[in-house]
Amino acid sequence: MSQLSSRHLLGLEDTPRKDIELILDTAITFREVIERRIKKVPTLRGITVLNLFYEPSTRTRISFELAEKRLSADTVNFSTSTSSVKKGESLRDTVQNIEAMKIDMTVVRHGSSGAPYFLTQCMDTNIINAGDGCHEHPTQALLDMFTIRRKYGKLDGLRVVLIGDVKHSRVIRSNIWGLKTMGASVALCGPSTLMPYEVEQFGCDVYTNLDVALDGADVVNVMRIQAERQQDGLFPSRREFSALFGVNRERLKRLNKNYTIMHPGPINRGVELASDVADGKSSVILDQVTNGQAVRMAVLYLLSDREERETE
């Protein structure tokens, strides 16, 4: 049976194409499972998964938890919104204490870039990155790619535009790496103040004019714009952001036929995405959420050391 080349999923920057393909292919099976009346399989029975969330999260945490439960894993949740330093117990001590209760896999969401890598140095469990700082959010990008591939049957040669706060978006970063590895053409669009320094080195087309960016694109993936960026002075108002970068019906004319609208949620309706577009027939936003289940089940399944266990 094919296996992933790493026992962790820390990001997509260094994940080879064959691994991404294996995850997406495996997710097809689990996508069928969650359509069944009985949505549960015994695959990870006896495996204990820690969901370690150092940042507030609703949908990603629920998505992982459901994925784990549907694989029959035992789950334990650790959630806090204070940093480990403020909390007074180091991240290493926290996870080593929990690991001492015999944990097999860890799903981590953390505000610091590189925190999942740090965990690989602290624990023996498999580590799955559920978002680290502004660095990577690999399962989100995998579910985005799964959703695109499910519709078009491929990723190669498609034109995908990622719109919004490129500077602070871990979803955009993971999408860039994954999509490029899979042969898609990637364009970035957002205010120049929300572009990271030397953004051109990502190897994408970079636009500050949305209409130009949308020209001839197949997929539009719109990111949530955080209110705090305005408070930080990175753009003057939601009104102006919406006028310059809001995706609305009028602008969709520039897209290729059979285009797709995506958003990782939660949506600021009427700001980065018009409501009628979000709810329109080309929107796959809720499919993304469903597919996220299947993709996370696939990642958990493929990373678990189940074969070792079976031969023990």
Binding site: S83, G114, Y117, Y197
Partner: protein
């Protein structure tokens, strides 16, 4: 039948003293803790016969140079004696070949008053290196009001600084420069505009872009340096820019020196050797440092500044941090790395061996240049000067090991590196305080 005329002789080594323009094989005779005479090699064979074995330091194949001076060191006493004390820092200094170090005022309490300065000086009484205090430029290094600089100078402060913090208010910086002029001491500035460095974790570059970390733009340093050069010109005072890391800053200082502004500056080995490319590999928190590791282009510009003389001194910016504080997420770690025990080896391996500078150039930047900037005694082996002497094993191959550090802290990104060149013996006032 011990020699009575001299206490000790260092024989057979190559003596390099840039202050004297001296660089050849010679014997160094020491009497009463001072350099008594430098004799041409081979001319003293008869005289050497009158020495007991324990009066002779065999330096064959070694370099004999004025005791190295590190003008930028953080000792953590008072306040964080678990990370470094005056005594442990001086042991690390001696092991690194330094006989004099200047300690920065960001202790707890801050060295903005005579009592704290005297406390540190008192601790250094019997230490393995001489300790010169750099006083706080502003009270509590808060950048609000000048500290009692006259008081600090009176007890021996050799300069003032708010190192770790940029004196952001230009009016206050101007006053600091003007006030320091009365005492003929430089103001040492940590040049990073704070408005451009809000919440920064690393250098702003493609690396910060891909890692999603807040980046400190190199222009923050350039702007700070340009402003302070302008203020220094107006104040007709002396400005020393700490740890220069960017092309913009090097260019600005080069130009200012040409125009006759009294500005000097320094560079650290880590900015000469490392770039921000290293950070994403393992998120090693020892690589978190302020100012941050920069791009290849900036690193090359700093080396160029070192070569053409724009950069006057090489300093460690030794910044000890406990294992506990550094064993964490990258952005949660306090900035700083230790350097006293790796500076010489790094400079030999990456600056001298790569052909950028000669030994004489390096020794100049680690002895007489800092001595002149801060009006310190030493920095030369001139006859009559205190016998602070470093004997260097110039091609000694060694591996940096955490357990070998004399420093109480181990936060070095160079652990495991193979270096060439190391201090062999360190003499303070004619006495061997460190030997390998």
């Amino acid at each position: 039948m011990a020699s009575k005329k001299y206490d000790l002789v260092i024989t057979g080594g190559r003596v390099i003293d840039p202050a004297l323009g001296f660089g050849r094989d010679a014997d160094v005779f020491i009497k009463n803790g001072a350099v008594s005479r430098i004799g041409a090699a081979g001319k003293s064979a008869g005289l050497l016969r009158s020495f007991d074995d324990d009066q002779i330091v065999d330096a064959a194949g070694k370099l004999v140079v004025p005791g190295l001076i590190d003008m930028h060191v953080h000792l953590r006493e008072p306040g964080r004696e678990d990370e470094e004390t005056v005594i442990s820092g001086c042991r690390a200094a001696a092991a690194g070949g330094f006989t004099s170090i200047c300690c920065m005022p960001n202790t707890s309490p801050v060295m903005d008053n005579q009592e704290t300065v005297k406390f540190v000086q008192d601790r250094a009484q019997n230490a393995d290196a001489r300790v010169y205090v750099v006083g706080a430029a502003t009270k509590l290094i808060e950048g609000k009001e000048l500290s009692e600089i006259g008081d600090l100078v009176k007890v021996g402060a050799v300069a003032i600084t708010d190192d770790g913090h940029y004196i952001q208010n230009p009016e206050l910086m101007r006053r600091a420069l003007e006030y320091a002029r009365m005492f003929d001491i430089p103001v040492m500035q940590h040049a990073e505009d704070q408005y451009l460095c809000n919440g920064v974790i690393m250098n702003e570059s493609y690396q910060s872009a891909r890692l999603g970390m807040v980046g400190a733009p190199s222009v923050a340093e350039e702007i700070a340096v340009l402003r302070d050069i302008a203020l220094c010109r107006v104040a007709n005072s002396r400005l020393h820019i700490l740890h220069v890391t960017t092309k913009g800053a090097v260019d600005a200082i080069r130009q200012a020196k040409r125009e006759g502004v009294n500005v000097t500056c320094e560079a650290t080995p880590h900015h000469l050797v490392l770039t921000d490319d290293e950070i994403g590999k393992e998120f090693n928190t020892s690589l978190r440092v302020n100012p941050p590791l920069r791009s290849v282009r900036d690193r090359e510009a700093v080396i160029e500044g070192l070569v053409d003389g724009t950069i006057d001194c090489i300093v460690s910016d030794h910044a000890p941090h406990s294992m506990e504080e550094k064993d964490c997420e990258f952005d949660q770690a306090p900035p700083g790395m230790i350097g006293l025990e790796t500076t010489l080896g790094l400079v030999k391996t990456f600056i001298i061996d790569k052909g950028y500078l000669s030994w004489a150039d390096v020794i100049r930047k680690m002895t007489i240049n800092p001595a002149r900037i801060l009006n310190l005694p030493g920095g030369t082996l001139q006859e009559g000067s205190t016998a602070d002497i470093t004997i260097i094993d110039p091609d000694k191959k060694w591996t940096v090991k955490a357990r070998d550090f004399r420093s109480l802290s181990k936060n070095s990104p160079f652990i495991g590196w193979k270096l060439s060149g190391r201090a062999y013996k360190t003499l303070l006032g004619g006495k061997v305080v460190f030997e390998r």
